[in-house]
């Protein structure tokens, strides 16, 4: 059978991935095909460059020491324990919730993700325009900034946070909730503004800032191990 030129097969030959019979056949083809011989030689010289690069890294000790495996295993175990505790309590932790969101995102096809993103963008623009255009009666229309400030201040007041606190001055920590903090952060269902929160995993000491919509925030606060405290920063 006459073999046709196949660059991928040539690469597999250079990488030692080709089955012995196929490799034999391809080598026979190389003896007859000038084009494939040239391509084969180029692949070999390129791999030689990468090999030189690997040796150079090793020779110059550019990598430095590796992190301690015991520390890594301990931290992974601590995180798993934290996640498991949250799940056993039937309560989604903030981290678990983000993980679930990430999983859900991975399961939604890319085209549909774009469609969802576009729909959310349209809603966001609509909300912004509503605040900008204001009501039709004679009362002065509140600006978007004023609306944000009002929402933020009312939330802050209900949460016992000093006036003037930043919108990100909410901290969620892994601790039992109190009735007052739950009610303090019970947000208006109509509030469309995302809330910036600092999510703290006290078991590990990791923290990250996340932007949540009020519905999600409400669910975390009303259901879980979360507690709201003012950000000391």
């Amino acid at each position: 059978m006459m073999m046709t030129c196949d660059d991928f097969a040539l690469e597999e030959l250079v990488f030692g991935e080709l089955a012995p019979e196929a490799a034999l056949e391809l080598r026979a083809h190389l003896g007859k095909c000038e084009r494939c011989r040239v391509e084969h030689a180029r692949l070999i010289s390129e791999q030689a460059l990468f090999a030189a690069r690997r040796r150079d890294s090793a020779t110059h000790g550019a990598m430095g020491p590796l992190p301690d495996i015991d520390q890594i295993l301990a931290r992974a175990e601590a995180r798993n324990t934290f996640t498991k505790k949250s799940e056993d309590g039937g309560v989604p932790s903030a981290r678990g919730l983000f993980g679930a969101l990430a999983t859900a995102r991975a399961r939604v096809p890319r085209v549909e993700r774009f469609a969802i993103a576009a729909a959310l963008a349209v809603i966001a623009v609509g909300v912004a325009l509503r605040y900008r255009s204001g009501p039709t009666d004679s009362a002065p229309a509140p600006s978007a900034t004023a609306a944000i400030a009002h929402t933020s201040e009312s939330r802050a007041a209900r949460a016992g946070i000093a006036p003037g606190a930043r919108r990100s001055d909410f901290v969620f920590a892994a601790a039992p909730p109190t009735r007052s903090t739950q009610s303090a952060l019970s947000l208006e269902a109509t509030d469309p503004l995302p809330v910036s929160v600092m999510v703290v995993d006290t078991h590990i000491g990791d923290a990250c800032e996340q932007s949540l919509n009020p519905g999600t925030l409400d669910r975390i606060v009303s259901s879980s191990s979360a507690m709201c405290v003012p950000d000391p920063i």
Binding site: E46, A48, L49, F50, A52, R53, D56, S57, I72
Partner: protein
Amino acid sequence: LLASDEIDARHVDAGVAALAIRARSGDRHAQRAIYDRNAPRIHRFVVDLLRDRDSARDAVQDTFIRVFQGLHALEDPARLVGWIFGIARRVCLEHKRALIRRRQDAAPPEHAELLAHNGPSPEKALADAESAAILERALDKLSVDRRTLLLLRCDHMLSYEEIATAMGFSLAKVKVEIHRARGLLRAALEAEVR
């Protein structure tokens, strides 16, 4: 062309699925074996992506914390290596964003003093350094994704399937993109040596 130990390492990976299954059931020896086998090349990979040795060390640590934390979620244990590289790539993107936020310069990795013993001859070392520098400059002209694809294929010698897992691309896309990246690398190399 390939060092025999590199080829051996690829064949050893055939047993990686069993190792992953043992590791996710909590076998500490298996977890350590996964780390010992993969940490050095993941370290090299993240140094290549981040160009910052301190960040690279943190990125390796974060990568393996996520690996051991999420092993139970790995659907196909045979894809362990590609999966680890995929996590490392995502961790690097996060660290890169953090680096940019801190306005740190992405300086190339500092080279320590030449090791005086157990290394190649000075002539060989010099030739390697020159070749590495030419390749580095050519790689720098590629986009991040294409550079990453070529490093995964040509430097870490992952299979196309493993690369597809690491990058979250289809197998067809990986083949096409690597083919394109190789063409661009050739053009960049020719420009370098002219």
